[in-house]
Symmetry: C2
Subunit: 500 residues, 2 copies
Amino acid sequence: MSAANHRVLHEALTGRRLTKLEYGHELPKLQDRLLDAQFELRKQRTRAVAVIVTGIPGAGRSEVVNELLNWLDPKFVTVYGFRPPNEVERQRPPLWRYWRVMPPKGRIAILHAGWYEEFLADSVRATERDSVVVKREVERIRRLERMLVADGVAVVKIHLHVSPELQARRLRRLARDKATRWRVTAEDRWMARHYARVERVFEHCLEQTDQRPAPWRVVDGTDRQHRAYEVGKVLLAGIDGRLAGEERPVRVKRPAAARQRALRKLLPTNHPGPRVAEEEYDRELEVLQGRLALLSRKRRFAKASVVVALEGMDASGKGGAIRRITAALDARQYRVVPISAPTPDELARPYLWRFWFQLPPRGNYTIFDRSWYGRVLVERVRGLAAPADWQRAYEEINEFERELAEHGVIVAKFWMSVSKDEQVARFAERDRNPLKRFKVDPEDWLNRKSWDPYQEAAADMLALTHTSHAPWTVVPADDKRWARLAVLRSLCDRIEARLG
Amino acid sequence: MSAANHRVLHEALTGRRLTKLEYGHELPKLQDRLLDAQFELRKQRTRAVAVIVTGIPGAGRSEVVNELLNWLDPKFVTVYGFRPPNEVERQRPPLWRYWRVMPPKGRIAILHAGWYEEFLADSVRATERDSVVVKREVERIRRLERMLVADGVAVVKIHLHVSPELQARRLRRLARDKATRWRVTAEDRWMARHYARVERVFEHCLEQTDQRPAPWRVVDGTDRQHRAYEVGKVLLAGIDGRLAGEERPVRVKRPAAARQRALRKLLPTNHPGPRVAEEEYDRELEVLQGRLALLSRKRRFAKASVVVALEGMDASGKGGAIRRITAALDARQYRVVPISAPTPDELARPYLWRFWFQLPPRGNYTIFDRSWYGRVLVERVRGLAAPADWQRAYEEINEFERELAEHGVIVAKFWMSVSKDEQVARFAERDRNPLKRFKVDPEDWLNRKSWDPYQEAAADMLALTHTSHAPWTVVPADDKRWARLAVLRSLCDRIEARLG
């Protein structure tokens, strides 16, 4: 489908039919190839497939899903249907529930209308929608799909269409039989009555969300056998990896030299940073923890939620800062998520998956000890992610945090900026003190060797992901006490600003 | 703690204190051993630890949790707190939310009061509780813990106690400071006012739920340092595996010979079973699917949920029967869960974990293509589970299904009983037909060699797990069509009986 093709839905109604003979001849061959393709997908485990099936009522959406299931080895296919969001889903950004069911590499997930469900329904129903809202929804979907494809999830989008006469006939037949009557919803009947409008709106929606990495395929739903055959071919192309068009290479935004220089100044030098005396620390800590405790108990806080991400070199004091935060909170109100190397399950999904999974419900905190920024820090420096992958991550991260912020999540990010000398001193202390032995990781010394590349990566990260909706706080961390107070103070300020 | 010890809580208040010197001397040694034990736990990955901390208000429950976190390597410890169940949790049996957070082998989970939260609160609050309900709650907890321990999860239960004077003093101090005031809830104040009663009720609750595999340890919360030291020792014993007493060996219930013989008659012979002609099948299928569709759309169905489990030899027609069920349902109303060999993530948990995870919300179906019965079928026959493990599984499964039934879940279990000859014929057909190749598994032929042990295992299973709350339906399955109708009919009957 191309944006230039107007009336593309209508034109899809070629009325082509397959004779029973053609069908009997072609379909087994197609199914044969589908099974082969699925077997390869499973064997290689480098890609996953997400299938979306939309269409107008009566075009055969659920029949198509059933056919797909019949053709494939159902052990490695999962089907998800989505109802209006429940209590748990409503507390997270709209895409959360789709992220939760993202298939791992080697598998196929059929998501029915998936993330198009609300978009299509809202577009058709509302007589006038705020163009800013619509634009944002389109952007959200397009970005999601681009990221999925880049992370190895083929997105197969099939839209089914039929003529108004056939639609009416099919709905009538379903409604006549009491066993199938429930399949015809009020929504379906409304859509059938407004066929022309629905066709126009759907066409527009498809055009806006059609893109090379995840193109729409419109299938004529008139003849069941022809429809099945066409859908099978689209799916095969998706599993084979032949569906997505060549993506334009990502333009890597480089931070302007001046900005980069300015940021470098925030990063550690060997000048001693600010310090605080022990008595003042004790006093101030109590005050700040009290402030945080009170803020987190406010009635208005029950509608917000907080995502805290702490980043910094090894031994920069992330864990200590986190414990000063959690000491002020109710145990049922927060979760601390330490991020280390991804598990096989996590590696099989798009890299943001494990972070989406941990988003807090309203009134709660999730505190990440290291975070999704690993992509542009350790994975970049150690070459664990390909350059193209970590380079696109800046934009993907900004989009992720924007979705959080748009949903009312307070995103507080801290870079704990420790100097090289102080880090050495802390490592030595850890080696001396047996009770800190669990903190000693042979990788720490390895990471130390890459001090300069890490600092460069941190400067890029600060420059490219410091946004109004999710600003960084750079914390001079050579004095642990000072750093802990700074984190607490900044966190309180952010929450206070939000609660008003 | 032993059931004979009355006033055991009061007697725990020894008033022992640690001097700062003792504490400074002993605690680092203890922490050292804790870190070692955690490291071993992590290295061996044969066991997990679930920690429960209860106590009266003011005894220091949350301080203790914080201390535990400070001593251990926090990367491998997860802390969970539980609020009143939310919408998603309320739709599942009460234990569901605890199963969801069960730690994998190698890890420690701190669950605060965990599954004792509601039990203690209800026991203390209600002036008179139905003894049948209480007895059932106690049984549920005792069985859960026994299963966890048998499956490699050490259950560490710590109860903290202080005198009424100290409790009052601590609560007063917390309430005075506006930063800590929120920690004192109305519940806490009520409990403090009814100290004697609370002490008596808690004592009784602990006695009832104290058992050798998961004993209670009562810790005097008077002196913070002594308390920390004692808690650390209990945890160490738990991680080391020294806490659980020797379990009495499981008595293996064997089905009576007569019952066993009667059941064997239900299992396949080489007599041809019932058959149905194609036209009659088509007609009847439509009627039954219509009936199921209507039942599943009833308003009263929205309060029920259905768990279907299909078991049977390879090629007994489970998948075909499932597709005839799902064709009658709304796509958003069911999930089909094919069960094969457990993943590493699943192997790291108690064996029922992956089934608990998949329980449907109200108004929904989960259809298991093979199920938790694998434990007493394939795992028994192939020697994948130790005899003691599959032998205790009958009781564990009955308890699991009872919890589902008590929560209003309709549990429909089908044994698809195919004869040896018919199975051979179907294998041959699969080998011939390339489109059924995904169904051919080298293991199938392997399983065939164990035909007799499988039939024996099936007979035991039917005899030992056919309960009033979750009865088996044995379906003669040599004629696929007849079998599909039988499954649909039985399912409809069960649902209809429930909805009334």
